[in-house]
Amino acid sequence: MMKSLLTYLMCLAVVVSFASCDNVLDVEPKGQQLESNYYQTPDQAYAALVAAYNPIGWQTGGPDGTWIPLLGPLNAATAGMNAGGGGPNDIPTIQAWNSYDMSSAVGPQAGYWSRSYAGINRANLFLARIDGVQGLDEATKARYVAEARFLRGYYYFWLVRLFRNVPLYTSPLETSEIYEIEQAPPEDVYAQIDEDFTAAIADLPAAPLPSNEAGRATKGAARAFLAKSLMYEIGDSQDQEKMGRAANLLNQVNTSTAYALLDNYPDIFRADNKFHSESIFEITHTSKQQADWPNFGSGNIQGNVYVQMVGPRGYSGPKYASGYGFNPITSVLVDALQGDPRYGYTIANIDSIASNNSSASYEPSPHQNTGYFIEKYAPLQENRADVITPELNYPNNYIEVRLAETYLLEAEAILRSNGSIARAEFLVDEVRDRVGLGPVTSPVTLEDVYQEMWLELATEGHRWFNLVRTGRAADVLADEGFVEGVHEVLPIPLESLNNSQLEQNNGYD
C-alpha cells in the first residue's frame, strides 16, 4: 500500500514536472528598461523626445565614428573654402569632398547619413509609442507629436538634399524589413517632409519660447524648413504654385513679430548671445557637455569641436585659441567680401594679425593654408570653457535658419513666382541696410539675391546647397572638380549597400 502510494506520488511529481516547468523561462530583467516596456510615463515620453533631438547636435557619427561637424565638409565643398587641417589625410571625410573624389567608402556621407537616420528612428519610435503613454495631457501630447514630426521632416530634408535617393519609412523598421527596404522616389520623400512639417506647424508653439525651452521646434522653424524643402524640390525648374507656397510660408515667418534682424551683424554669432530675435532654428551646445576624447566619437555624445577645428593651426597669441586649421578661406570668398562691411566679421586674417602683433606667433599648416580663417565660429579665448577637454566643449551654437536667410529666400521665391518685386527689394535691402550697405539696384534680380545670400550667409553652410539647388554648381564649382549629374548628391555609404537593396547614386562606385 505504502509502496504504491509513494510510487504514485513520485510518478505524479515527475509527470507534473514534465508539464509545468516551462514558465521558469519567463524571467524579467532587473534594473534594466526594455524597449518593450518603456514609453509608459510622461517623463519617459519626454526623454524619448529629447533623444530624437539629440542627433541634431552630433559632430560624429556612422559606424566608423566619422567626424561630421555639419559645416566642415559642406564648407570645404564650396570654392570659398578649403579642407585644410594638418595634412591631406587629416579627416579624409572632409578632404574628399573638398577635392570631389568621393567614393562609397570615402567621403562625409556616413556621418550625415547616420545622423539623420538615428533621428528618424527615434522620431518614428516616439510616434509609434506615444499613444501608450499614460498621464500625458492632450496639449502636451499634441506638442510632442508635432515636435517629433518636425524632427522627422528635418532629418529627411537633410537626407533628400544630400543623397536624393533614400529609404523612406515612418514607423520603426521590423527586423524582417531591414534588408528588404528600397530607396524611395525623391518626390515621395518630399511629400512626406511636406506632410510632417504641415502637421507640425499646426501644433507647434510660436516663437519666442521660454528660455528653458529655447532650441525646441516652433511654428516659424517648421514653416522655414518646409519652404526650404519646397524650394529645394523645385530646384531650377519652374513650379509657380509650389514656389508661391514657399513664398507664402516665408512671408509668414518674415512678418512674424517674434523675429527681427539684429542691429549689429557680429552679435548674431556671439556664443553668449543665443536664441536672439534673428534666430529661427539653432543647433545647440553648451560647454557643460563633458565630452572628452575617449567618449567623443561614440555618436551620442555631443561635443562641439568644429569651433576648435576652424581655429588657426599652431597659433599663439591674443583673441584666438590654437585650432586645427580646417576650412581656411580661399581668395574666392576673400575677394568677394573685399570692401564689404561683413568682411571682418566673416574672415579672420590670421596672417596679418600675426605679423602685426609681436605677442602672436603662428606656424601654419602646410596643407591648403591661406592665412584666412572663419571668424563667425572662431575659437575665441573668451569662449574656451574651463573644463578638462575645452577643445571638445565650445559653447557656440550654430544657427541653422536665421531671419536674414528667410528674407532672402522669400525674395527669391517672389522673383521666381512673379510676386511683388517691391517686396523682394525691401527684403534684400533690409539685409543690406543692417550692415550699412545701400539698396540694390532696382529692379532687383535673382543674381542680386544669390550674391547677397552668399555673402550674408558665408561660411554658415548654405552656399553648396544653394548652388546645387539653383543649378549653378557646375559653373561655380567646375574648378573644384564638380561633375554635373554626379556631384549634386553624395554617394550612399558603403556599409548601407552591403547586403541591402540600396543602389548607389549615379556616378559613384
Binding site: 514534465f18 534588408y179 525651452e213 556599409e495
Partner: protein, 1142 residues
C-alpha cells in the same frame, strides 16, 4: 566439477555457447547469460511452472529464478537431476530464496559475483585427480584467498575448465607442449607452460586497469566501460590519492588526452583554464562541471576538496555530452564524490606539509649594468649621460629577492569516516588546506576548510534515499596582480631600477622630499621604503605596496547539496527525483590607508574601508525514469527525464571613508562617519533559467554491438521567444570485434571500435536579455543653456537569437593487448557554428548599437592517444600511462568582419597583439617580422623600394630590418602578419609508477608543444625600466648582434614599440609535476599500532621544467592569451606526508 557443467552445456546447446561461456568468464557478462536461460524458460517451461500447481523440477525452478532475477546458476547437472521442489512462490530476498530452495536437497551455493552462483553438494570433498591430469589451486596474489570460477584454457584449443568454489581445478589430458592460460575477471591473465608437473598453483594479480569492467559515470546514470561507445576519459580516486592536488583543475592536467589545462597563475587558490578538445567558441569555452548531478556554474569548482573525489569523467565527444544539451559544447566534467562501503567501517587520515619556492627567477641587470645601458640608451636618443660613474653602483637592489619567498608553507589535512550496513552507507570528511604564496606572501595566501557528508539509505527494498552535502569556506589574500604590466609586486620587481635601495636609512634623505613631505610607508623600525627616482608610473617599492594591501582578503562560503529519492515500483524500473542546491556567499574586505608610493601611486586624501557581500543561488530539479530490459542477446536501457534550473545573485557593499584607523586590523564600520563619507553600492545578476527534457536509449547486442541514441530538448531564458527551445540529438555506435568468433587469437586481447555524431549547444556565450532591446539614457540635448536627458533603445532586438551549435564527429578504438597493455585512440572533427558576434546592421536603420547574431564558425580537429602498461609481479610492479593529443583550431567564418581584434593590447604598443581571422587559430599573435639588424648605414641605405626610396628612412645601424610584407616600399601597419600561436596544439602527459615490496614510486609529468609566448615583461613606455640580461647582448656596433637591437630612449625605428617576432619565444615545455617516494608499513607493524594501513611519503611538485622559455614560468595561459607580463609562477614544493587507514 565446473568442467562437467561446461561439458553439459556443450552437449546441450550449440557451439556458440562455449564461446559465450568463455566470454562470460573473460568479461563478466552476466546479463547475457541470464537472457539465454530466459529464452528457454519462456519457450515452454515457464508456462508449465505456472500450471503445475504442486511440484516442479528443481532445474526449472532454478531457471525461473534465473529469469526473474537476471542471475546465472552454474552446477553439475547430476546433482539437481530428478529433484523436485514446491511450485509455490518463495519469499524473502534472492539469497534467502535460493537457500530455501537448495537446503532440502542437501545442496549449497556460493557466488562468483552477485549475479553468478555456483551450486554444489553440502559435503563436497576434493575432486579426484586423474593420471595425466594437472590440478592446482588459484589464489589472489594479494589476499591469498582462493578464486572460484577462474577460467583455465589450454592455449590454442577449446579444452578447458574452471576452478570450483574452493579455487581448485583439475584438467585432464594435458600434453607436454601445452600452455595453460588462467584468466579471471578483474585479474591479469597468466600463462604457464606445462612441463610434466601434476600440480600448478597460480596466484593471479588483480588487474588495476582493464577495459570493460570499470563502471563509468555518464550523464544521469552509469554504464559499464565496455558498453560505452562515446569518448570518455576518467581519473580515479586512486590517481588522486597517490598524487594529491589542490584543485579539480589540477587533477585534469596532463592525465587525460584531449584535455588542456593551463594555469592562469601560480597564486594560491587560482583557477586554471580547462579546454576540452580545443577552444570551442570565441565566446565561452569552459566545460560544464557537474558534481553528483548538480551543475556548478557560479563560483567555479574551487570549493571541491579533491580528497572527496571518487571519480572524474570527462565527456569529450558530442554524443556523450549531448545529454547536457545546450551547455555541453565545450565538454562536460562529471565528478562523483566518495561513498561508504556497505560492509566495513573505515577511517582515514592523510596529511602533508611542504615548503615551496620559485623554480626560476628572471635574470635582470644589476645596478652597474643598468647604469651602463641606461647611459647608452639616453645618449643614443641625443640626451646626455644619466649616470656619470656606473661602476659605483655595484650589484644594487635585487627586487625579486624582496618579493619571493623560498620557504612558503603549505599544509593539507584530511580526515574521513565511511561505512555502512546492508541497507545504508555513509561517508563524512573534513579537510583543511593552507597555502602561502611564493610571491609577496603576506598578501598572497589561501586557506580552505571543507566538510562533507554523503549518505545513502535503502528505506525499503524499493525506495532509496541519498544525499550529498558539502560546505567549504575559503579565505584568500590575493591583492596582487598576477600577470599585469601595470604595477603590483611582480611587475615592479621586474621594472624597478636596481639602484634605488629597499630602505632609506640615510637621515638627510629621510628628511628631504619626497620622504619628508608625504605619507610614505615605513618599516617597523620607522625607516621609509625607498622610492625610485628613475622608474615611475605604476611601479612602486613592492614591500611598501604590500603594506598598503596587508590584511585585505576575499572569502566564499559554498554549500552544495543534493537530495534524491529513488523508487523501483517494478523490477528494473527506476524513478528518480533529485533536487540540487548551491547557495554561495562571498565577498571581500579591504582597507586603503593613506599612502605615498610614488608620484603616481598614492592616496593622500582619506583612507577608506570597503566591504562587499554577495550571494548567489542555483537550484536544480532533475527527474528521471530509467528502465532496463533484455531480450535474448538484446539489452536495452531506456532513460527519459526533465531538468529545471534557476540561478540568481545579489551584491551589496559599502565604503566608509576617513575612519579613525591606520590599518586593516583596526578598521571597522562601527566608527561613525558622516553620511556623505559612506558610500553604498550593489546590484543583482539577471535571472537565468533552463528547462529541459531528455531521453536516451542504450542498446547492445551481446556487448558486441553497441548503440546509444540521445535527444535533449533545452529551453533557455537567454534566448528569444523564437528559439527558446533547441533540440540536441546524438548517436554513437560501437563494435567489439574481439568478441566475435572469427576474431583470431592474436596478441590483441580486446578491441572495440567506436564512432559517434552529435550536436551540442552553448548558451553560456551570451549575456542575459541580449535578444531584447534595452533603453539607455545619455542621448541628451541642450535646450536654453541646460542639458536634458534623452533616452532611446540600444541595439535592436534579435528574437531569433539562438545558441551556438557544436557538431562533433568522433571515431576511435579501445584495445588491450599482450595482457598488460591498453590503448585508446580517438579522432574527432568538431564544428562550432552560429557563434555569437555583434552584427553590423545598416546605418539607415538608425539604431544605437548592433545586435548579437549567430554568425561566426570555427573548427577543431584532433587526435588523442592514451597508452597504458601495467605489470605486477611477485613483490614488485610497474605501470606507465601516457597520453598525447593534437588539436588544430581554425576559424572558418567571422561574419562580415575582416578580423576580430584581440581584446588585449600590450602597454603602449600602437597595435593589438592578437587577431582572430578566417584560416587562423583563435587569437593568433599578429605583428611585424624582423629580418635581422642593420649593421651599417650602408645596409640601411641599400634597403630600398622600386622607386629607389629608403624603405626605412628612420632606421639607423643597430635597428631592426622590418620585412615589407605587402611590398609597397614602406613599413606600415599593413606589413603585419600572423607570427605565432599562443595555444599549444600538442599536449601530453606521462605517469610512471612502480612498487617494490613496501616501497612505491610515482612520477607524473606534463607538457605542451608548439605554442609561442609573447614576452612583454618590460614596460615600453618607461624608458628607464630595468632590462633582462638578454639586453647585455644588444647591438653596439657592426657584428655585435643580429637579434637584439640597439638601445635608444626614443626608439625611432620602433624596435621595441612594434609587436614583432622579437618578443616571441617557443612556449613548449615538459614539467615534472610530481615525483614521490612512499613507504607502506608492513601489515604486522601497523596492526601492532592498531591501524589497518599506514604509508609515509616524500614528494616534490614542479621539480623541474624543461623549456626554452626564459620567463618565470612557461605556463602562461588562461585569460593571458600567451602573453607574459610577469606571470605569478607555479611553486616548486617539497613535501612530506602520511596516509593512515584505521
Amino acid at each position: 566439477m565446473i568442467n562437467h557443467i561446461i561439458k553439459n552445456l556443450n552437449d546441450m546447446k550449440t557451439k556458440s555457447y562455449t564461446f559465450l561461456v568463455l566470454f562470460i568468464f573473460l568479461f563478466g557478462v552476466n546479463a547475457v547469460w541470464a537472457d539465454q536461460s530466459a529464452q528457454y524458460v519462456l519457450n515452454e517451461n515457464f508456462v508449465k511452472v505456472q500450471e503445475a500447481n504442486k511440484t516442479v523440477s528443481l532445474e526449472k525452478k532454478l531457471e525461473h529464478i534465473e529469469t526473474g532475477y537476471n542471475v546465472v546458476f552454474l552446477y553439475e547437472s547430476s546433482i539437481v537431476k530428478g529433484k523436485l521442489s514446491s511450485a509455490k512462490e518463495l519469499d524473502g530476498t534472492l539469497r534467502e530464496k535460493i537457500k530455501k530452495l537448495l537446503e532440502p536437497h542437501g545442496l549449497d551455493y556460493s557466488y562468483i559475483d552477485n549475479r553468478t552462483f555456483v551450486i554444489s553438494k553440502l559435503s563436497e570433498t576434493k575432486l579426484e585427480i586423474a593420471a595425466d591430469t594437472v590440478s592446482g589451486v588459484v589464489t589472489d596474489s594479494e589476499t591469498n584467498e582462493t578464486l572460484p570460477g577462474v577460467n583455465i584454457l589450454v592455449k590454442g584449443t577449446s579444452r578447458g575448465t574452471s576452478t570450483n568454489m574452493d579455487g581448485e581445478y583439475s584438467l585432464p589430458s594435458v600434453e607436454p607442449q601445452d600452455t595453460l592460460r588462467f584468466s579471471y575477471i578483474g585479474y591479469q591473465t597468466q600463462e604457464i607452460a606445462y612441463d610434466g608437473q601434476n600440480e600448478i598453483n597460480v596466484a593471479l594479480q588483480p588487474r588495476t586497469y582493464a577495459a570493460g569492467e570499470e563502471i563509468v559515470v555518464v550523464g544521469y546514470g552509469t554504464q559499464q566501460r565496455r558498453n560505452v561507445s562515446g569518448s570518455i576519459s576518467s581519473v580515479s580516486s586512486e590517481d588522486l590519492d597517490e598524487a594529491p592536488v589542490q584543485r579539480l583543475d589540477d587533477a585534469l592536467q596532463g592525465r587525460l588526452s584531449g584535455v588542456r589545462v593551463t594555469s592562469s597563475s601560480g597564486a594560491p587558490g587560482s583557477s586554471s583554464s580547462v579546454r576540452i578538445r580545443g577552444t570551442t567558441s570565441i565566446n565561452n569555452s569552459d566545460p560544464l562541471y557537474i558534481v553528483d548531478g548538480v551543475p556548478i556554474e557560479n563560483g567555479g569548482i574551487g570549493y571541491l576538496n579533491p580528497s572527496d573525489i571518487e571519480s572524474i569523467q570527462v565527456l569529450k565527444d558530442a554524443a556523450s555530452a549531448a545529454i547536457y544539451g545546450t551547455r555541453a559544447a565545450s565538454g562536460v566534467v562529471l565528478v562523483s564524490t566518495k561513498s561508504g562501503s556497505r560492509s566495513n567501517f573505515e577511517a582515514s587520515y592523510s596529511s602533508y606539509y611542504g615548503i615551496q619556492g620559485p623554480e626560476q627567477k628572471l635574470d635582470l641587470l644589476n645596478a652597474r649594468e643598468y647604469a651602463v645601458l641606461r647611459n647608452e640608451a639616453s645618449v643614443a636618443a641625443g640626451n646626455g649621460v644619466v649616470f656619470s660613474d656606473p661602476q659605483q653602483y655595484g650589484e644594487g637592489t635585487d627586487w625579486q629577492e624582496t618579493i619571493f619567498n623560498n620557504s612558503a608553507a603549505v599544509i593539507n589535512q584530511n580526515l574521513s569516516f565511511s561505512g555502512g550496513n546492508e541497507s545504508s552507507s555513509y561517508y563524512a570528511s573534513v579537510g583543511y588546506y593552507d597555502e602561502q604564496g611564493i610571491v609577496a606572501s603576506p598578501i598572497s595566501h589561501n586557506k580552505k576548510v571543507s566538510f562533507r557528508i554523503n549518505s545513502t539509505i535503502d528505506v525499503t527494498e524499493w525506495l532509496t534515499f541519498s544525499e550529498n552535502i558539502s560546505y567549504t569556506y575559503e579565505k584568500n589574500r590575493g591583492s596582487l596582480a598576477t600577470n599585469s604590466e601595470f604595477g603590483g609586486p611582480l611587475s615592479s620587481a621586474i621594472n624597478l631600477d636596481p639602484i634605488t635601495p629597499v630602505l632609506i636609512t640615510n637621515e638627510s634623505t629621510i628628511n628631504s622630499p619626497p620622504y619628508s613631505n608625504n605619507p610614505v610607508i615605513r618599516n617597523e623600525q620607522g625607516y621609509p621604503y625607498g622610492i625610485s627616482q628613475y622608474v615611475g608610473q605604476e611601479m612602486s617599492n613592492p614591500l611598501a605596496y604590500m603594506e598598503t594591501q596587508r590584511g585585505n582578503y576575499g572569502y566564499s562560503h559554498n554549500i552544495v547539496g543534493n537530495l534524491s529519492l529513488q523508487v523501483e515500483p517494478i523490477e528494473n524500473l527506476l524513478v528518480k527525483t533529485d533536487i540540487g542546491v548551491k547557495p554561495a556567499f562571498y565577498g571581500f574586505e579591504s582597507f586603503t590607508p593613506v599612502y605615498y608610493l610614488s608620484s603616481v601611486a598614492q592616496n593622500t586624501g582619506d583612507n577608506s574601508f570597503a566591504r562587499e557581500n554577495s550571494r548567489n543561488l542555483i537550484w536544480s530539479w532533475d527527474n528521471t525514469i530509467n528502465y532496463t530490459t533484455s531480450l535474448d542477446y538484446h539489452n536495452f536501457d531506456f532513460l527519459v527525464g526533465t531538468s529545471t534550473r534557476e540561478q540568481s545573485s545579489t551584491t551589496v557593499g559599502g565604503t566608509y571613508q576617513a575612519i579613525p584607523a591606520q590599518n586593516f586590523d583596526n578598521a571597522s564600520m562601527n566608527f561613525s562617519v558622516p553620511n556623505e563619507q559612506r558610500i553604498a553600492f550593489g546590484g543583482e545578476a539577471q535571472p537565468y533559467a533552463l528547462n529541459s527534457y531528455f531521453g536516451r536509449i542504450n542498446y547492445d547486442y551481446d556487448s558486441r554491438y553497441l548503440l546509444t541514441v540521445v535527444l535533449r530538448i533545452d529551453g533557455s531564458s537567454r534566448f528569444g521567444s523564437e528559439n527558446q527551445y533547441g533540440t540536441f540529438p546524438a548517436v554513437s555506435v560501437g563494435w567489439v570485434p574481439s568478441s566475435e568468433q572469427f576474431f583470431p587469437d592474436t596478441f590483441v586481447d580486446y578491441l572495440k571500435v567506436r564512432a559517434s555524431y552529435g550536436i551540442n549547444g552553448n548558451d553560456r556565450s551570451l549575456g542575459d536579455f541580449q535578444y531584447q532591446s534595452t533603453v539607455s539614457g545619455g542621448r541628451n540635448y541642450v535646450f536654453g543653456n541646460s542639458i536634458y536627458t534623452g533616452a532611446s533603445p540600444n541595439a535592436p532586438a534579435n528574437p531569433s537569437l539562438e545558441w551556438e551549435e557544436t557538431t562533433q564527429i568522433n571515431a576511435g578504438f579501445d584495445a588491450t593487448f599482450l595482457n598488460d597493455f591498453s590503448l585508446t585512440f580517438d579522432y574527432y572533427h568538431k564544428e562550432t557554428n552560429g557563434m555569437l558576434l555583434q552584427v553590423e546592421i545598416p546605418s539607415y536603420v538608425g539604431a544605437s548599437g548592433n545586435p548579437f547574431g549567430n554568425v561566426a564558425s570555427l573548427t577543431n580537429d584532433g587526435v588523442e592517444l592514451e597508452l597504458g602498461y601495467n605489470k605486477q609481479f611477485e613483490d614488485y610492479g610497474f605501470s606507465v600511462t601516457a597520453n598525447g593529443s593534437y588539436n588544430k583550431n581554425e576559424v572558418t567564418d567571422i561574419g562580415e568582419n575582416d578580423f576580430l581584434v584581440g581584446s588585449i593590447p600590450l602597454q603602449a604598443s600602437a597595435y593589438e597583439l592578437t587577431r582572430t581571422t578566417v584560416g587562423q587559430p583563435i587569437g593568433s599573435f599578429y605583428g611585424f617580422e624582423t629580418q635581422g639588424i642593420f649593421q651599417t648605414q650602408q645596409e640601411v641605405n641599400s634597403y630600398t623600394n622600386s622607386d629607389g626610396d629608403l624603405i626605412q628612412p628612420n632606421a639607423q645601424p643597430g635597428d631592426f630590418r622590418w620585412k615589407d610584407l605587402n611590398g609597397d616600399g614602406q613599413i606600415t601597419s599593413e606589413d603585419r602578419t600572423f607570427i605565432g600561436n599562443p595555444t599549444a596544439p600538442w599536449t601530453f602527459g606521462i605517469n610512471l609508477s612502480a612498487n617494490w615490496k613496501q616501497f612505491d614510486f610515482k612520477m607524473f609529468g606534463q607538457g605542451v608543444y608548439g605554442n609561442d609566448i609573447f614576452q612583454g615583461l618590460r614596460r615600453l613606455d618607461i624608458a628607464s625600466a630595468n632590462y633582462t640580461t638578454r639586453a647585455l647582448n644588444r647591438w653596439t656596433g657592426p657584428g655585435t648582434s643580429n637579434s637584439y637591437p640597439r638601445l635608444s630612449d626614443t626608439d625611432p625605428n620602433d624596435n621595441f614599440g612594434n609587436p614583432s617576432d622579437f618578443y616571441l619565444s617557443d612556449g613548449s615545455y615538459f614539467r615534472i609535476k610530481t615525483m614521490q617516494f612512499g613507504y607502506t608499513l608492513p601489515v604486522e607493524l601497523s596492526n601492532d599500532l592498531g591501524i589497518q594501513q599506514a604509508r609515509v611519503y616524500v614528494r616534490a611538485e614542479n621539480l623541474a621544467t624543461i623549456t626554452g622559455y626564459s620567463g618565470f614560468d612557461p605556463e602562461v595561459g588562461g585569460a593571458s592569451f600567451g602573453i607574459d607580463r610577469g606571470i605569478y609562477p607555479q611553486a616548486r614544493s617539497f613535501q612530506v606526508g602520511v596516509n593512515i587507514k584505521f
